[in-house]
Symmetry: D2
Subunit: 366 residues, 4 copies
C-alpha cells in the first residue's frame, strides 16, 4: 500500500500541488454518522494560510463531496472529497524541474520516479496534499466527538518560544484550541512566536517547531502488543506528514534519562476501572491504550523553501550548481500542521476502534 492507510477505516489520498484537483477517499466509516460540511470547511480554514506568517498562495479549498454521504449522513461506503486547485503559479517553478531544492523531496523523487514526477510546486509531495487528510479527518473527528473522544494539538514550541503543556483539565484545553487560528494554550506566547516567524521570513529563512497532541476519552484496551501497537499506528501516520522528523509518546525521549521509579505510573482505583496518578507513558502501555489521555509530541522541521542562495545539483547531469528559490512559500508550517495532526490522529483512532469493537461502533448510541 502506498497512498492508502488503515484497515477497517482507511483513507486514500491523491493529487499534486499544481494538478487538476487533490482529495481523499475515506472508506469503512460506520453508516449513519452526520457529516457537517460547515465543520469540514472550518477545519480546512484552520489548515489554510494565515496572514503574514504564511504563503501568499490562497486557495479557496472548497471541498466537494462526490460520494458516500446521503441525507447528510455517512452511508458506510467510500466518501470522496475533491478540492479543485485554482491559484497555481506554475510559471514560478521552471528551474525547479531540474535543480533539487535542499531539504525537499526533489532529488529523492527523481531517484524513484525517474523524471516522470510532476515537479510543479512539489507535486504529490506538497504539503497541499494534506488538505484531503483534513477533509476526511473532519468527519472522523466528528464521529469521535459523538463518542466522547476529543483530540487537540497545540504548538508546544516554535522558534525557541514554548507554550505551556496540557493541564489536568484536558477537556477544556482541547475545547479552547478548537477555534484558534494559531493554536497555543497560553495566548501570551502567540505574539513572540509569530514575531520569530516573521523575523525568519524577513531574513529569507524559516523555522520549525514541536506540536503536542492529546486525545481525551479514548477507551482502554485498544491496540496490539506487537507490530500494530497504538504507538506504531500513530507514528506510521504522523511520519507520513511532510516535515515530521520525530514522534514521541508520553514523556518520550525524556524517559531515557529517568529511573524506573520516576517513570512508572502508579495505578489507582478509579470507579470500576483504574487510572494512573501520573501519565509518563502517555496513555499507552504495551502498545494498548490505558484509558489515560494519549499524549504525542511531534518534531516539525523548518520549511525547506528559503530565499537564501543554496548549493545544490542540476539533476540533468548531477553537476554542482546553486539555487535561489523564488515563489510563494511558508516561513513556518507549524501553525498549519496542527489541524493535520488532529485529522491524522482521528483517522488512525477510528480505524483502531472499528477493528476492536466492530464497524458499527462509531455510529452506535452509547
Amino acid at each position: 500500500m502506498k497512498n492508502t492507510f488503515g484497515s477497517s477505516v482507511s483513507i486514500t489520498i491523491f493529487g499534486e500541488s499544481h494538478g487538476a484537483a487533490i482529495g481523499a477517499v475515506l472508506d469503512g466509516l460506520a453508516p449513519g454518522i452526520p457529516v457537517d460540511e460547515e465543520f469540514i470547511a472550518h477545519q480546512m480554514d484552520l489548515r489554510k494560510a494565515v496572514g503574514s506568517i504564511s504563503t501568499a498562495r490562497h486557495e479557496a479549498d472548497k471541498v466537494r463531496i462526490l460520494s458516500g454521504v446521503f441525507n447528510g449522513k455517512t452511508t458506510g461506503t467510500p466518501i470522496t472529497f475533491m478540492i479543485e486547485n485554482q491559484d497555481q503559479h506554475s510559471r514560478d517553478y521552471g528551474e525547479l524541474a531540474y535543480k533539487a531544492r535542499p531539504g525537499h523531496a526533489d532529488f529523492t523523487a527523481m531517484m524513484k520516479y525517474h523524471g516522470h514526477q510532476d515537479f510543479r510546486g512539489g507535486g504529490h509531495f506538497s504539503g497541499r496534499i494534506t488538505a484531503g487528510i483534513v477533509a476526511a479527518g473532519a468527519v472522523a473527528i466528528s464521529a469521535l466527538k459523538a463518542k466522547g473522544i476529543l483530540i487537540g494539538t497545540h504548538i508546544l514550541s516554535c522558534g525557541g518560544i514554548c507554550d505551556r503543556s496540557f493541564s489536568p483539565d484536558l477537556e477544556n484545553d482541547i475545547l479552547s484550541l478548537g477555534s484558534k487560528e494559531f493554536a497555543v494554550l497560553d495566548d501570551s506566547v502567540k505574539a513572540p512566536m509569530t514575531e520569530r516567524i516573521e523575523a525568519a521570513k524577513n531574513n529569507g529563512d524559516s523555522v520549525g517547531g514541536r506540536l503536542e497532541t492529546a486525545v481525551y476519552g479514548f477507551p482502554a484496551g485498544v491496540g496490539e502488543p506487537w507490530f500494530d501497537t497504538l504507538e506504531s499506528m500513530i507514528s506510521h501516520m504522523f511520519f507520513s506528514i511532510p516535515a515530521v522528523k520525530g514522534v514521541e509518546f508520553g514523556d518520550g525521549f525524556a524517559l531515557a534519562d529517568m529511573f524506573g521509579s520516576e517513570a512508572n505510573d502508579h495505578f489507582r482505583s478509579c470507579g470500576s476501572t483504574a487510572c494512573t496518578s501520573t501519565n509518563h507513558n502517555g496513555g499507552i502501555l504495551g502498545g494498548i491504550s490505558s484509558g489515560m489521555p494519549i499524549i504525542i509530541r511531534t518534531a516539525v522541521k523548518p520549511t525547506p523553501s528559503i530565499y537564501k542562495e543554496q548549493d545544490t545539483v542540476d539533476m540533468r547531469d548531477m553537476s554542482d550548481t546553486t539555487l535561489t528559490i523564488k515563489g510563494r512559500h511558508d516561513p513556518a508550517i507549524i501553525h498549519r500542521a496542527r489541524v493535520v495532526l488532529d485529522s491524522a490522529a482521528a483517522l488512525v483512532l477510528c480505524d483502531q476502534l472499528a477493528l476492536r469493537f466492530g464497524t458499527d461502533w462509531l455510529a452506535a448510541q452509547n
Copy 2:
C-alpha cells in the same frame, strides 16, 4: 494484522515468556540467501543477558529452524525459527496474576484480553518475544550485508552518560560494533554506563537510555511519499519493540529549533549521483531514501520492573493496593535492545527493497 509485519518480506512472531516456545516465521525473503546458523547464534547471544547488569534468568536461546532452509540457503518459502523456553520460574509470579505492575502492560492486557492473557512473566508482552525478531533479523542482516548494506546500533546514552555519535567513517563504526557485548563507539564510556546501571540495580531501581541506529549503503529511491514513508515503516516497527517511547530521524527533535538555512542539507555532485554535505535529514527526504546514511534515534524507557514498593490496583476488584516485585529482572535493557533494533531495521529494509526492486533482488549478484 497483529503479530505480522511487512508486505513482500514479512515476519510473524509468537510465544509467551513462560509458554512452551517462542519464535518467528519469516516469509518472502528471496530464495538462495545463505543462512548462517552461527551468525544467528551470535546475534542471539548479543540479545541475551550479560553479567551483573542483566536478569539472572538464563535461557540457552537455541534456535531451531523448522522450515524454509534447504541446503543451507533460503528456499523463498517461510522460514520458521523456534526457541524452546527452559529456565522458567513461574512460581515467582503468583501475585502478579491480579496486581498490575506499574509501567507494564498488565492492566492494558486485562482490558484487552479480559483475564485470558498468559500473565506469567509478562506473557506475550515480554521482551523475550524479541528473540524471534533477532533470529529472523539475523538472516535479513546477512542478506543486506551481501548487498553492501550495513546496520549498526550503539548506546547513545544511558543513565546520563553519552557515547559519541557516528563518525564520517560510518562503515568502520558499524563494523566495530558487530561483536561488542556492550555496544558503545567510545569504549571509555562503557565503564561509567555500566556503573550507573549497577548503581540503579543496587538501589532496586532501573535505567533507560537512547539508542542510535545507522544504515550504511542503502540505495536512493526507496520508500513512499505518503503513509508508507520510510520513516513511517521504520517507526511502525520500532514502536512495537517494548519500552520504545520515541523515534526520530536525522537531527529529529533538534530540527524543531533550527532555521531552515541550518537544517537544509545541500546537494553536491557525487559521481553519477548526488550526496549531501550534511545529513540533518537522516538519509530520508519526502519519505524516500536519498542514498545518505539513514540515522534513527530511539528512546528506551527504564525497565518498569523495580524492587521498590509501588502503589497499584488489585485487578480483581480494581481496589487500591501495593506491590513489591520479586523475581529476576533487568536493571536496564538498553544494551540488549540494540541487537533487536538492528534486526527490526533489517526486516523493514528487506521488505522495502523487495517491494521496490522485486522479490529476487536481495539474492541477486550485484
Copy 3:
C-alpha cells in the same frame, strides 16, 4: 480493506449510481507509462449500453483524470479517474427505498448499513461502479500490452447459445475481440445470442451467461503457493464484480470428472524454457504462472431487475409484499461485463508483476 484491492499496484473505487460522481484511484503503477485517453474512452464505450439489448440509461461516461498523469505519462503517484453522473432518473426508485428487489443487494445492504445506504439505482452496489474499474483498467491494459501481455474476454455462452473457445492462435483471437461491441469469437453466434436477449427482454425477463478470459504472454514464475495464489488473486477480484457467481481456471469443474492421466499437462522443451502440450490447468500450477495462457471462465447470473411481479418483503417491518420493478434496466449484462473482466484481470496482473519484479518493471524497456 474494503473498496481497495491490490498491494503494489492498487485500485480504490468510489461512488453511487445516482450520486454526484463515480470513479477510481489507481496507485502504484510504474512512472512513465503512456496514458492514452482515447483508449480509455474506447474501453468506456465497450462497457456502455448497446442498443436494444441494454438499459435505456445513457451516460456520457466522460472520464476526467484529476491526478497522476503529467506530460501524458503516469507519474508513479495516484491516478484519479472521475466520471460525473448525469442521466439519473431518481424518481423511478421511490418504492425501492423499502422493498427489497429479489436477487439484488437491497436486503443485505439494509442488514449492513441499517438504512443509511444510498438505495437509488442500487447505490454503491450498482454495476455502474465498474466504470471506475474500466477506466483504471485501461491504463493497466496498455501497460501490459507494451510488455507483450494481451488480455481478452469473450462471451462463451449466453441464453443457451455457445461461442467457440479460444483457438491455438490466441494472440489473434484476443486482437480480434478488441473492437467488437458484442464480443464473440465466432461472429455467427452474435445474432442468435442477441435474439435470446431480446426475447427475454420482451418477456420482461433477463438472461446471464459465461465469459471466458485469456491472458497471452504472461511470464512464468509469478504468483504464490499459498493464500495469494494467482487463482486466489484473480478470483478475489472477479468475485467482486456484480453478478459473478462462479470462477474456474483451465478446464475448471470439468477437471473434477477427469482421470489424472487426462488432466495432466505434459511438459515439452520450448526454446530455453518449457511449454505444455495441453493446457488443462489454465496456465497456473501450484498457484504460480507457467508461461502458458491463463484461462479463466466466469459465470454471470441473469440481471435481477426483471419486470415480472415478484414476492418480496417491505423492509420497514419485514412484512410480505409484492414488487413490480419499473425504470430502465439491462436484460443482460454479459456483453458489457466482458470489458470489466479484462480491466479487472489487468489490474490484478499489474499488481502481481510489480510485486514479483519491482515497481519499475511495467515501464521498463524490454
Copy 4:
C-alpha cells in the same frame, strides 16, 4: 502477503513435506475460546490417509501447541501449531530434483525459486501443508459452533458418482458429516465412489471430484460490496488449497443458463427478518451474507501423481524426457480435502465476523 491470510483473524502457514516440521500461527482469535485438543486431533484424523484409497505414507500428525493457549482457552495472542514430520521417504524423490512432474508445481517452482526450493515430496507445495490449516481451523470451527454457526463439506461427486445435495434440514446434514471418514450425505454412494478410486489406483491413475460446503447459521450483513465480497474472501482462500480449480456459490455456473425469473430468490417475512424461499444465490447477495445458508461448490482436479509414464522436461537443460513417478501417492484426495475446506471456510468466516462485530464477538456469550 504470501503465506498469511486474514486481517483481524489471520493464519500464517509454514513447512515443507520433508522438512523438520509443518504448522501454522493463528492470530487474532478472541480471548477465552476453549481449545479442545481432542477435537483438533479428530480433525487431523479426518485429513489423514484412509486405507486403500490413500497414500501409504502414515504420519502421526500429532499437533503440539507452542503458544496462545492458557488454562485451556485462547489468550487472544498467536496460537502456534507445530506438527513434526516423521514418516519421510526422501530417498524416493531423487530424480524429481530435476524432472518436472506434470500437473505439479515443480516447473513453476523452478521458475519462481530458481532451484532453491525444497523439491522433496513437493516441499512447500505439498498438500501436507494443509495440516496446519486443519489444526488452526479446528479452533475456528469450535468458536463458530459456540455461536451457532456450523460448517460441513461433503463429496458431491467423485469419479462420476454423485452424492445428493444438502437437504432443507441442513443442520442435521452437517452434523451427520461430522464424524464420517468418507463424507457423503447418502451413504449408499460411498461404496461406488471408493470403487472408482480403487479402480483408478489399480490402473496407476487418479480421480478428482467436487466438494459442496454449506454454512448454517451465519448472520446477515457480513461482507463487502466491492473487492472483499464474501465470495471474494472465500474463493481467495479456497483457490489456495492445492488442486482446487473452480469455485462457485449458490447455483454457480448453472445460473448462467437461467432466466432472471428463475434465478431470483424471493424474500419472505421470517420473524423479525426476511428469508428467501429459494437459495440460488447461496446466501450471498451483493457480496454480503443474507442469513440464508452459504453454499459453495469446489472443483478438485485429479491428483497429478500417477504411475503411468509421462512426457516431461529435464529442468537442468529444459530438454525432453520421460518420467515414471514412484513413491507413495493418493489416487484421490477428495475425501481428505473436505476437512481442509471446512477449516479454510471457518478461518475466513471468523475473520469476517471479527472485522464486522469486533475482536471479542466470537468469545462473547450470546
